[in-house]
Structure formats: C-alpha cells, structure tokens
C-alpha cells in the first residue's frame, strides 16, 4: 500500500466516525504532518465532504426521515443568533468607543459619566487584553521575530510582542498555514522558567484564509520574564501539556542577570 493510499484509508476511517487506535491516530498525524498544510486540510475536508454527501444522499431517499425542527429549539436558536449578532456589533465599534475620552472637554460632567460607562459597561471583559495601541505603547515592550525550521512553516513571518508590565502581548503572523478549526488549533506557549516549571498556556487561535493575522495573547497564568514563546498545533480547544513539535519559536537572548 502506498503512503497516499494509507492516508486515504485513515482519513476515511476518521470521516466515518471510526474510533482510531492510538497507533493509527499517531500514524495519521505523522503522515499528515509530512504534507503541505493546504493540501492536508483539503484532503481531510474532501473526505468529510464525501461522508456528508453520502449521508445526505441516503437522507434524500428517505422521505420519512424529514423532520420539522421543534418550535422550542427553533426559538432558542433564533435567540442565540440575534444575541450573537448584537454581541458582534459592539466589538466592531470598539475602537470608536475607545476614542471617546479624547472628545471630552466641553462638559466635564458628561465626560465623567461617559468614562464611567466606557470603563464599567462597554470596555471588553477582563479576560480580553487591552487594545492594541496600549500594548504597542508599553515602555517595556519586547518584540521578537518568529522563526521556524519545520517544513511548511519556514516561510512564516511576523513577530511576538510582549509587555511584562501589562501582562499582555500580540502575535503577528504573515503566511501562517491555515488550520482546520474543526479538528486542530494553534496554541501559544510562554516559557518562563523562573516562575513556571512548564510552559504557560497562551491560548488557542485559528489561522484562516491567507494567514496574515494579529492575535492578542491570553495567558492563563501570570508570567514574570518570559524568555521564549512557541506555537504548536494541537487538538481543538488546546491541551494542558503539549507533545507536539514547536512549529514556530520567538526567543530572545538572556536578560541581564538571568541564565537560560
């Protein structure tokens, strides 16, 4: 059996919902990792499409299978859809609201009320990092280029910026291969050996379309002086401890008084 045939066989098993043995799953991961990212996603998508269309063809033949969604479920979905649409609107206009403080001055009282509304009601929730401009203006901002020696990632450009003071940062990428968010997500790791024995989870993210993206860092723990940042590709939702290869690394030289 050729490698291509074996990949198809394992993808078919996965798409059919078969529970792969650990060895088979590991084999599939290795075989897919050797393929260019775009081709890997395309092959996987195509197999899942074949399964979905096969299922749909059976459904089309079975008139008795057609069901009308229960009213309660439909109403719940509609409520969720409307709430989600509303929820996305404030994010779109967030930069405008962030500039509101600059417009005050004509009436201090009004400005104070506005400031209170902005800080307590409209600003992003606590787990969201401060706006980009704040991070980039931090006096202790560190900027490190992404590097990779992994096939398919050598072309990735961009940088990791981090502020110890703000405990916030951003990942900027150009040319990051798109992931399949249904199955896998990129995960950031922050290496801070003085404070944490294991790398700190920096959050999961997706690279869609052309891979030119800016991602705010969402560190799960406080970090003091990170010496490196790394990106892996993990199962959807991320993992607690990564076993995967480091696809991208942004690292600096030793800080004064610090041994690597």
């Amino acid at each position: 059996m050729t490698t291509a045939d074996r990949i198809l066989e394992l993808l078919a098993a996965e798409a059919a919902g078969e529970r792969l043995e650990d060895a088979e799953y590991g084999e599939l991961r290795e075989l897919l990792a050797a393929m260019p990212a775009g081709e890997r996603i395309r092959e996987r998508d195509l197999m899942h499409e074949a399964a979905a269309l096969g299922q749909a063809a059976f459904l089309a033949e079975d008139r008795e299978a057609w069901r009308t969604m229960p009213d309660g479920l439909r109403e719940r979905l509609m409520r969720m859809a409307r709430a989600r649409a509303l929820d996305s609107a404030p994010r779109d206009s967030a930069p405008r609201r962030a500039n509101w403080p600059a417009r005050w001055g004509w009436a201090a009282a009004t400005a104070m009320v506005l400031a209170w509304i902005v800080t307590t009601v409209l600003l992003p929730r606590p787990q969201v990092v401060p706006p980009t401009v704040s991070v980039q203006a931090a006096p202790d901002l560190v900027s490190l280029p992404w590097r990779s020696e992994v096939s398919g990632y050598e072309q990735v450009r961009g940088e990791m910026t981090w502020s110890d003071a703000l405990q916030a940062g951003e990942m900027r990428f150009a040319g990051l291969p798109p992931n399949d968010p249904e199955l896998q997500q990129y995960q950031l790791w922050i290496v801070d050996p003085d404070r944490h024995e294991h790398p700190v989870d920096g959050g999961v993210f997706d690279a869609l379309a052309d891979g030119d993206i800016v991602i705010p860092v969402n560190a799960k723990l406080n970090v003091d002086q990170p010496v490196a940042f790394a990106v892996t590709l993990e199962q959807r939702g991320g993992v607690v401890v990564s076993q995967g290869p480091l696809l991208l690394v942004a690292a600096e030289g030793p800080r004064p008084g610090q041994a690597l």
Partner: protein, 187 residues
C-alpha cells in the same frame, strides 16, 4: 448554487462572514430542518439531538468565513460541518434508538417548504455518487453514515467480521471521494 440568497446572489455564510446581522437567523431558517433531520438520525428523540443542533449552528456561525463558494456549495459546507460536530458528539454520547418522538417534532414528508425542497433537490444531485457502490457496500455505508450504527454494531447486525466492516466502509468512502473529485473536475 443552493446557498445563494435570492435577490443577492450571495450565500448566507458569506453574509455571516461579512457581519450581516440578519444572516445567522437566515441560516437557521434555511437549514434548521435539515440539520435537525440529521441529528434525529444520530440521536433519536433524546435531548442530545437538540444540543447537537445547537452545537452545529454555533460551529457554522463561527466557521462561516471558511466557506469558499468556488470549492463547493453552501449546502455541502453546512452538511459537512454539522455532521462532523455530530460525529464528535456520537463518540461521547450513547446512541438512542426507538425513542418516543419529541413534542413538536413532526414527520414532514409532505411539506412544500421551498427551502426544504431546494435542499432535497441538491441532495438528489449527489445520489449518483452512491451508484458507484455495490448493493452490499451501500447497505453497510447506509448503516454507518445514515443510521448511525457503530462499526461493531454493524458487524453484529450483519454477522460479519469487524475488520471486514471497517475495510468496506473505508473503501466505500474512498470511492465516494473519488467520484466527488471527478464530479468537480478535480480528478
């Protein structure tokens, strides 16, 4: 293309990706019954069926930007995302069968609803793909993809070795995939 919105020529998923506030409810309107029908095949009348539909739509709303009209229809995208979410859930949930229908869950075989007819017509288009398979292969694939039986359940039901069932399902899917590539001119 099945996903195009009348009068706009643009798929609902493209509108979601562009931030059209009404597009997410439009997606539920158009594909809700279809996704529900699929969920019923996997989970019967259990509450898990409703949860799986909810999860499927959350996933569709989130991944709308991945839809590429030049690579396939909106319906195919909806089916693929919804099915993958349900397969994930099947792996974690017991399969319910022979359940009592939920209140308000009506068999809809005589519905003239335009959206449902559109979806059904497009799905009829893919039926020739199944002609690539022998009767026995179709039977096994139907039990797996459509009826939602596990491979060991199929082996027991058809009195076949588990390995044979797995092999036939894998080969049938690979043949469907090849037929799909030919139909799209990608072969």
């Amino acid at each position: 293309m099945a996903g195009a919105t009348p009068g706009t020529g643009r798929a609902i998923l493209e509108r979601i990706a562009d931030g059209d506030p009404g597009a997410m409810t439009d997606l539920v309107d158009k594909y809700g019954d279809l996704v529900w029908s699929l969920a019923r095949r996997y989970f019967g009348a259990s509450p898990v069926a409703q949860d799986s539909v909810q999860e499927a739509f959350l996933s569709l709303w989130s991944s709308a930007a991945r839809f590429r009209p030049d690579r396939g229809s909106e319906l195919t995208f909806v089916l693929t995302v919804a099915r993958r979410r349900m397969v994930d859930q099947v792996r974690h949930e017991a399969r319910f069968s022979d359940s009592v229908p939920l209140a308000g869950d009506e068999v809809d075989s005589n519905s003239s609803d335009q959206a449902r007819l559109d979806a059904q017509l497009e799905m009829m288009r893919v039926q020739p793909l199944l002609r690539e398979l022998s009767g026995n292969e179709r039977k096994i694939l139907s039990l797996s993809l459509y009826e939602g039986y596990s491979h060991s359940e199929i082996a027991k039901r058809l009195n076949m070795p588990l390995g044979t069932v797995k092999t036939r399902i894998r080969r049938s899917l690979i043949r469907l995939r090849a037929a799909l590539k030919v139909e799209r001119g990608e072969a």
